[in-house]
C-alpha cells in the first residue's frame, strides 16, 4: 500500500518541518500522543488498571429470540465453587423498579431481561463470582425456562405488523419531542421522520427516472479493545471505570438508575483502544452499577470477543429510492423510504432515523424531495451508533441512484454530480443552508487524483477495470455542549481538563494543539487529562465527529482567556497597557518597552511560589431550530455539515468474482486541518473500514442467531485488502465559527465509500449491485445471470 498525500496542507507541513519553533501549533502535524506506548503495548487501557479486588460478573444469555421467561433456576449455578451470587432481572426490578429500563432515546432496555427476552444473546441472569472462570462456569449452569413467542427477524415484516417486540413504546423522559409516542401499542415502528420539500409534480417531458431497492446489512464495530466496566461502592458514592465514549451520559444514566445525585457517581475512562460507536450510552455500565450498588460490592465485567458482537451493531437498513432528472440534466425529484432495523432495543436508533433521513436524497439541489424514514424493532441484538451514524446506509442508495441517473442520460457520473451538487449558501432540501461544505472541491480532488478525464485502459479478458465516484453529506449532532478547564502550571506546562475521550482518533493530540496555539506553547507542553466526571467538566458525547468543533471551541476559548490573564499580569509587571503586551514562543513581551518575561518567571513572580496554577474555563454550546413536524424542515437543523468524496479504480476478476482496488482517492472538507497528518489518517482509516463494508464485512444472522460472531468468521479488511494506493486529500474551507476554522473528520470518508466501489464495479462489468456487501459469490452470480439469454 502506498499512502500518497496530495494535500496542499501536508506539503506545507513538510516544508516547515525543519523550521525552528515559532509558537505555532494549529496546522502542524504534531506527533500523536501515546503513539509510542501504543505500539509497544505499554499504554494502560481500562482493563489493565490495577483496581481494588473485584468480583467477576458473567451473564447467562438468552438462547431464544423472543420468549417469556417462566423461571430462572440458579441452584446449580450457586453450587459452583467460587460463585457468590446469581442475580436476575426480576431481582433488580424488585429493587430498582422501572428505573432499570434505560436508553438514550427510549427507556426500553433492561440490563437484565425482565419477564421477556427479545434477542438471542440478551442477558438473563448475572453470575457474580470470585474469578472469571468461576463466573463463566456458573453462568453455564443457570437454567432458564422459556415460553417461546413468535419472533420477527425481517425489518419489513416488522413494519407490516405482529409479532410485536415491545407491548408499548417507552420514550425516555429526556426528550420532549418523543413524548407523543408514549404508550403507543401494537407497532414495531418506534419512530418516524418525514421530509417534504416542494410539491410533487408530473416529471417534465424528457425526464429520466431511476428507482431501486437497496439493502445494507448490519455490521459490527470490532474495536481492538474489548468493552470493560468495573464499579464499586465507596460509602454512599459509586465509582465506575469504564470503556466509554460518553462518560457524562453514563454518569447521568447511572444516577437516574440508582436515584443518586450526580456528585455521588464518578465515571472514569482510560484511553480507548478503538470504538467507532461501540462503547456509547448504556453498555455494561447499568448492570455493573446496579450490582455494585445493590450488593454493596466491587464488580468487574470483562466481556469476551464473542460477547462483544452481541452488545451493539450497525443498523441494517432497507431503502426504496428513486430519482428524476429533467431534460437539462438537473435533478428535479428524489424519493426515499428508509427502514432502519434497530433490533430489540431502540438505543439511539430514533436519532439516527431522523439525522440520516434528512440527508437521504444526498447533497444535491433538488426541487422536490420526499423522505420517509422509520426506526423498526426486530428480535435481533440492539443496533446503535456506528461511524457514520446511519448515513452510509442512505448514501448507498442515493449515490447508486445518481450514478444510474447519469448513465441513463449517457453522461459522465462525475460531471452529472458536479452540475447538481450543493454550493456554499445553497439551501439543502431540509431547509438549512450550506457553509464550509465543499462537495464540488472534494469531487474534483478525488477525480483529479484518479486522472478521471484520461481514458481508462479496459482489458476485455478475465480481469475488467472500472472507475467509480461518490459523494457524501452528514450533519453534525446539534444541539450539544462542551466544556473545558485549563490549568497553566507555573513552569509553563499546562493541564487540560475535558471529557472528550481519546479512542484513537487523536483528540488528546489536537486538543493540546488548540490549547497551545493562543499561548504559544510547544509540542508536549499540554497534557490532556483522561475523562473523569469528578474532575473533567460535562461534554455531551465523544462521537459524531463533533469533538474538534465543539470541545475544540471550548478549549480555544479557555486558552484565549488564559492568554488574556497572562497579558493582564504581564502588563501590570511591565507597567504598560495590556494592548501593548504580546505573547510569543519565548513568553510575554512589551512591544513598547521590549521588557520580557517567560511564563515561568511571570507566574513565579505573580504567585510568589513555584508549582502554582492559573485556571480558566469556558463552555461552547450549539443551538438548533427543531424541524417542523409536518415537513421535517428547519432553517437551522444542524450547526454544520460534513462533505466528503471517494473515487476508486479497481479490477474485477470475472473468474473468481474478487474485486481488487488499485487506487482509492478520498477527500473531506474539514474546514481547517488542526493536525494534517492525523486528518489524513482519519480519512484513510475510515476509507479502509468502508472498503470492508463494500466487499465483505457483515453480520450474518440465521433465525435471529449471529452465525459469524467470532474473529475466525467475521470479515475485516487485512493489509492484503487495502488498496494498492490510497490518496487522502484534505480540503479546507474554514468554518466561520470553527476553532481556527476546523470541523471534525472521523466519519467523512466512510460515508461515500461503498457506493464509490460499487459504482466502479458497475463501470467495470456493467452490473448494478443494490445489496451490500459485494462478495465474490454475489458478483459471480450476477455475472452468470448477465450471460444468460434474457
Amino acid at each position: 500500500m502506498t499512502i500518497d498525500s496530495r494535500s496542499a496542507v501536508s506539503a506545507g507541513v513538510a516544508d516547515r518541518g525543519s523550521a525552528a519553533f515559532e509558537g505555532r501549533a494549529v496546522g502542524e502535524s504534531w506527533g500523536r500522543v501515546a503513539a509510542r506506548s501504543k505500539v509497544r503495548g505499554e499504554l494502560q487501557h481500562a482493563a489493565d488498571e490495577a483496581l481494588r479486588p473485584c468480583l467477576d460478573v458473567v451473564v447467562t444469555r438468552s438462547t431464544r429470540p423472543h420468549a417469556e421467561i417462566l423461571g430462572v433456576d440458579a441452584a446449580r449455578a450457586k453450587a459452583v465453587d467460587g460463585v457468590v451470587d446469581v442475580v436476575t432481572g426480576a431481582d433488580l426490578h424488585a429493587l430498582l423498579g422501572d428505573a432499570i429500563f434505560t436508553g438514550p432515546a427510549f427507556a426500553d432496555q433492561p440490563c437484565l431481561a425482565v419477564g421477556k427476552v427479545r434477542y438471542v444473546g440478551e442477558p438473563v441472569a448475572a453470575v457474580i463470582a470470585r474469578g472469571r472462570a468461576a463466573a463463566r462456569a456458573g453462568a453455564e449452569e443457570v437454567a432458564v425456562d422459556y415460553r417461546e413467542l413468535d419472533p420477527v427477524h425481517d425489518v419489513d415484516a416488522a413494519v407490516r405488523g405482529a409479532p410485536f417486540v415491545h407491548d408499548e413504546l417507552r420514550p425516555s423522559v429526556v426528550f420532549g419531542d418523543l413524548a407523543h409516542l408514549r404508550g403507543i401499542r401494537d407497532t414495531n415502528v418506534n419512530y418516524e421522520y418525514v421530509l417534504r420539500h416542494g410539491d410533487p409534480v408530473e416529471p417534465p417531458p424528457g425526464s429520466v427516472t431511476v428507482s431501486d431497492e437497496f439493502w445494507c446489512p448490519p455490521t459490527h464495530h470490532v474495536p481492538i479493545e474489548l468493552p470493560f466496566t468495573a464499579a464499586w461502592r465507596d460509602g454512599d458514592r459509586l465509582e465506575i471505570l469504564s470503556t466509554t465514549q460518553t462518560p457524562s451520559y453514563v454518569r447521568q444514566s447511572v444516577a437516574d438508575l440508582l436515584g443518586l445525585p450526580l456528585a455521588s457517581v464518578r465515571v472514569r475512562t482510560a484511553p480507548l483502544g478503538g470504538s467507532f460507536g461501540a462503547k456509547m450510552y448504556d453498555r455494561l455500565e447499568p448492570l455493573a452499577a446496579a450490582l455494585a450498588w445493590t450488593r454493596r460490592t466491587a464488580v468487574r465485567i470483562a466481556v469476551s470477543r464473542e460477547e462483544a458482537f452481541l452488545l451493539t451493531t450497525r443498523h441494517g437498513a432497507a431503502v426504496t429510492g428513486s430519482m428524476t432528472a429533467d431534460a437539462d440534466g438537473n435533478i428535479v425529484a428524489a424519493d426515499a423510504d428508509v427502514r432502519y432495523d434497530t433490533g430489540a432495543y431502540a438505543d439511539v436508533g430514533p436519532r439516527i432515523t431522523a439525522k440520516s433521513g434528512m440527508v437521504a436524497s444526498g447533497p444535491y439541489r433538488i426541487a422536490q424531495a420526499h423522505v420517509r424514514s422509520r426506526c423498526v424493532y426486530t428480535n435481533k441484538p440492539s443496533a446503535g451508533p456506528f461511524r457514520g451514524f446511519g448515513v452510509p446506509q442512505v448514501t448507498w442508495s442515493h449515490e447508486s441512484l445518481v450514478d444510474e441517473l447519469a448513465r441513463a442520460r449517457g453522461e459522465d457520473p462525475a460531471a452529472f454530480r458536479r452540475r447538481n451538487l450543493l454550493r456554499e449558501g445553497d439551501v439543502s432540501v431540509v431547509g438549512t443552508p450550506m457553509h464550509s461544505a465543499d462537495f464540488v472541491g472534494c469531487l474534483d480532488a478525488v477525480t483529479a487524483a484518479l486522472d478521471w478525464e484520461s481514458p481508462l485502459e479496459r482489458p476485455t479478458g478475465r480481469y475488467r477495470r472500472g472507475r467509480g465516484v461518490a459523494v457524501g453529506i452528514k450533519a453534525v449532532l446539534t444541539p450539544t455542549i462542551s466544556n473545558a478547564v485549563l490549568q497553566l502550571n507555573q513552569d509553563g506546562s499546562a493541564t487540560l481538563l475535558i471529557s472528550t475521550v481519546d479512542m484513537g482518533q487523536g483528540s488528546d493530540t489536537i486538543m493540546a494543539q488548540i490549547a497551545a496555539e493562543p499561548l504559544c506553547l510547544p509540542e508536549g507542553a499540554v497534557r490532556v487529562v483522561a475523562a473523569d466526571t469528578d474532575v473533567t467538566p460535562y461534554d455531551t458525547i465523544t462521537a459524531g465527529s463533533r469533538s474538534t468543533y465543539h470541545s475544540g471551541n471550548a478549549v480555544r476559548r479557555a486558552a484565549e482567556a488564559m492568554r488574556d490573564k497572562l497579558i493582564e499580569i504581564a502588563a501590570a509587571r511591565f507597567g504598560v497597557a495590556a494592548t501593548d503586551v504580546k505573547i510569543t514562543g519565548d513568553g510575554l513581551v512589551s512591544t513598547q518597552t521590549q521588557q520580557k518575561a517567560s511564563i515561568p518567571e511571570l507566574l513565579h513572580a505573580h504567585f510568589g511560589a513555584r508549582g502554582t496554577t492559573l485556571t480558566t474555563e469556558a463552555d461552547f454550546r450549539t443551538t438548533w431550530q427543531p424541524y417542523d413536524k409536518r415537513t421535517g424542515r428547519s432553517p437551522q437543523v444542524t450547526e454544520h455539515w460534513f462533505a466528503g468524496a471517494a473515487a476508486a479504480q479497481l479490477t474485477v476478476d470475472t473468474a473468481t468474482g474478487r474485486v481488487h482496488v488499485e487506487h482509492l482517492a478520498i477527500a473531506g472538507d474539514v474546514g481547517r486541518a488542526i493536525n494534517p497528518a492525523l486528518v489524513e489518517q482519519q480519512l484513510t482509516g475510515a476509507a479502509i473500514m468502508g472498503v470492508g463494508h463494500a466487499l465483505f464485512d457483515q453480520l450474518v444472522f440465521d433465525e435471529g442467531q449471529i452465525v459469524n460472531g467470532t474473529l475466525l468468521d467475521y470479515q475485516l479488511p487485512s493489509i492484503h485488502d487495502v488498496p494498492d494506493r490510497i490518496t487522502p486529500i484534505v480540503v479546507e474551507n474554514p468554518h466561520r465559527t470553527g476553532p481556527y476554522g476546523a470541523k471534525g473528520v472521523g466519519e467523512t470518508t466512510i460515508i461515500p465509500l461503498a457506493p464509490a466501489i460499487a459504482n466502479a464495479v458497475r463501470d467495470a462489468i456493467g452490473i448494478r449491485f443494490t445489496r451490500l456487501p459485494l462478495t465474490s459469490e454475489r458478483i459471480l452470480d450476477a455475472l452468470a445471470a448477465q450471460e444468460e439469454p434474457s
Binding site: 473468481t656 474478487r658 470492508g692 452465525v707 475466525l712 492484503h720 485488502d721 465474490s776 459469490e777 459471480l780
Partner: protein
Amino acid sequence: MTAALHRPRDLGAVLDLLAGTDDPMVFGGGTAVQILLKQGVLAATDLVDIAAVPGLADLVATPGGLRAGTMVTLRRMETDPLVHDRAPLLAQVYGRVANPRVRNTASVGGNIAHGDYRLDPPTALLVLDARVELSSAAGVRHVPIREFFTGFQETAVGRGELVTALDVPTQPRGGAAFSKLSSLAANDWPVASAAVLVTAADDVTREIRIGLGALAPTPVYVAVTVAATGSDDDAVDAALAAVEPLIDPLPDVRGGVGHKRRLGRVAVADAVRAAWTDTPRDIPREPREEASDDHRLPFRRLRRRR
C-alpha cells in the same frame, strides 16, 4: 473446567502422558488450542506442551528428501534453504498460511493433526507423497499423508499417538504451482486451494498431481496423466474432469456449494495451467541432484509471486 498443563522434557514422558491421562491434548504451537481454550470449547483434561522436548524441532536433509520434526514452525518451512532446495512447492505453500505471526508459532505437526479440511500444507504434502511419523508408547509407525486425513476433522492419529515428524521426498522435476482463493477478506480461510505438480510419468506422458484444500470434508489427492505433447488447455480439461467427482464443498458464510465448486474449478485450472506452463519440454528423468550450498538460490528469490 480447567485442564492440567504438563511440560515434559523428553519424548518418553510425553508418550506416557498421552497414554496415561483421561483426555489429553498435545499443545504444540498453540495457535489452534489457544483459541479453543479461550472460547471454552476444549474438552481436554490434560494439555501436554511438547516445546521442551529435545529434537522435535529438527529440520534435516535425508537421502531421499527432508525430515521436519513436529515442532518445526511453518515460518521455518517457508524460509529454510533446505526446503526451498528439495521441495520448493512446499516452501511456497507454507508461506501462504495465515500470517507471519501465526507462521512463526504454528508447528508442522500440529498443523496436520488439527485436521481441518481447509489447511494449506496438506495440499502440497499430498502431491509430494509425504509420510507422517506417529509415535506412541507402543512404538513408531508411518502413515502416508494420502491416508492420513480420514474424515471431517479426523486424522489417522490414534489414541496415545503423537505426530513426531514429516518425511518429505525431494520434489520431482517438473512444474509446480499453488492457488488459493478466499471469497471474502483476503486473509480469510480459503474456500478453495490447489497444489499442483506436473512431472514425467514416462517418456511421452506427464502426470499431473493435484492436492485440494477446502473443497471437501478432508484434503483430497488425485492424479491424472496427459500426453506430454498436450496443450495447457488439455491439461486443465483433464485435471477438471479428474477433480469434478471429488469436489464436495461444505456451505457456510463464505459461500454456498455452487460458489465453492465454481471457485474450486478456478483454483485447479489456475494452478494446473501455471504448473504445466512451468514444466520444461524435456523433463530430466534422472533423480534431481542435490544442489550444493553454493548454487542454492537465496530464498527471497524463490518467494511466491502474487
